[in-house]
Amino acid sequence: MMELKMTDLTKQYGRKMAVKGISLTLTGGVYGLLGANGAGKTTLMRLLCTLQKPTGGKILLDGKDVEELGEEYRGLLGYLPQDFKYYPDFTALDFLLYLAAVKGLKEKTAGKRVAELLAAVGLWEESRHKIKTFSGGMKQRLGIAQAMLGDPKILILDEPTTGLDPKERVRFRNLISAFSKNRIVILSTHIVSDVEFIAEKIMVMKSGQVIHFGSPSEITAKIKGQVWECRVPTEYAEKYAARLNVSNLRNEEDGNTLLRVIAKERPMEGAVAAEPKLEDLYLYYFRE
């Protein structure tokens, strides 16, 4: 099985450390990358895509330095950046055919694969339309399609569900789940539920470091006993929400509101311990 290893990976911009000595080994599967803005997720992904050179440490693919592997490594990569541009006068079809050429796909294979991917992301009907006519969600789907061109063994997706409606998000999750066999898929998102559904392992990043790495149940176990559900009268709900670390708030028919609270100790009388979820974990670490 393919092994992508980061050893003491560091990236520094001037005095700011964007990535601090990350050492991780990834094998096949879907990895969710969680972290607040500025946690270093995008920098880590760019380092993995060789778009930035690390200040220290190495990235090894099956024991070989990816910098030295060069084309061979990039031939295995698929990448969807968080912010990127398109050629507005290109059609979706031409854009993918161009990137297929950049990725080294043969012309015949490229045409077939591009058509398949456009259909998979629901853009086949619009494949001959210019990209400048596309909505944000359509552009994002096109971005997902280009990342999957060339059947990459390592797929890196930075905020892939941004701009997608719920139906499209479901389609995306199914697509990634089906695609992920025998591949390494890394995806970062603010939408925790996306990761929760499909990621086998979660990496939680804070201040350039991976502070937790494990399966969703392993990760959430860290805050077991710190998630509570409390029922309060609806008129006081906002007061409580301002005082406590509330991950969810649901009004009930009986005039009460159910608060999901993250706290080390029982936050109030009648609070019941609940099974922690990823969203709770996210809030636990990134409350501020």
Partner: protein, 358 residues
Amino acid sequence: MRKLIFFELRKIMAKRLTWAMLLVAVLLTVLLHVSTYQNKFAFDGQRQETGKEAVALDQEIAAGYEGELTDEKVRQMLSELMPQSGPQGLNVIYIYQNAMQSAVAARFSDMEGNWNGLSVSDVFGQEKIKIGYVDGWLGAIQDMTKVFLCLSVVVIVMLTPVFGGEYGGVEQLILSGRYGRTKCAAAKAIAGLLAAFGTTAAIVILNVALAFVMYGKIGLDCSILFAPLSFTEGYIPFNITCATLLKYRILLAFTGIMGAAGITLILSALCRNQMTALPAALAVYVLPALLPFAETSSFFRILALSPLYQILFVALMSVRQFAGSLLYAIWALPIAILLMAAGGIISGKIFAGHQVSA
């Protein structure tokens, strides 16, 4: 690789600005040539013509003296073509009646239009000067210089986005692709140079074709030294034919524009985006003209080989004649090849090593 070059060419040529600027170059070509042609004037003492008829009259007058320039022909021209007096006290030497009269006046007449006492060998040494109607082609070549200057700017504008235009975000997709840093970078440089070459070729063909339609082959085998006054003072001082001059004009259009293309590609890859690459490329292109070196300075010989001076033509063409039709300007060819190679290789390497900013 061919597919990549095709896509890169398409990206360059798909821009509306490119086509708008090329249209300007085409319109300028037509406007300049037609205007020069329409403004031609000739008077043989009886007939006064303008435009097409003036060219025909000039060619008819020149046909009467065609061949090698001799002292006899000089005296014959002075007596037959020079006016007796100028209007309102104007010196006769400055009166323009027709191309041959202006040519003989420029070299062999005193202020009153009389022979200045110089023989052909006094003026041209041992050079054999073949005379004929050269005003048409010399004017056309002068117009071409203006067009090529405009075209060089068009090419710079056209090529600044080749690499710089990708830095807005698309480069992340390209540089993480298998051949993004290798074949794609090379394809971009090749496409840039091909686009520059293609547009230059198209505009050169248009210019030469228009000149041929207007003046035909007449005068191409004649020396540029026996030309009207406007092509005497400060013009190229070597005994070459109009055909040779035309060949150099075409050569220097290609070398100058391809050299500028090479520089532009490097700056396009080097600058943070196309908006900074454009003024940087234009500044580097015009810089040689702003440097305070006189044409007599030995450093000027090096400066004159810059793409801008290749386009501006006359200064570089006037540096030195090695032998016959071999001029110092021929050095523009290796310089252009060097700039193109440097542009292609260096820009590709810069792009390949580009780090996506934080």
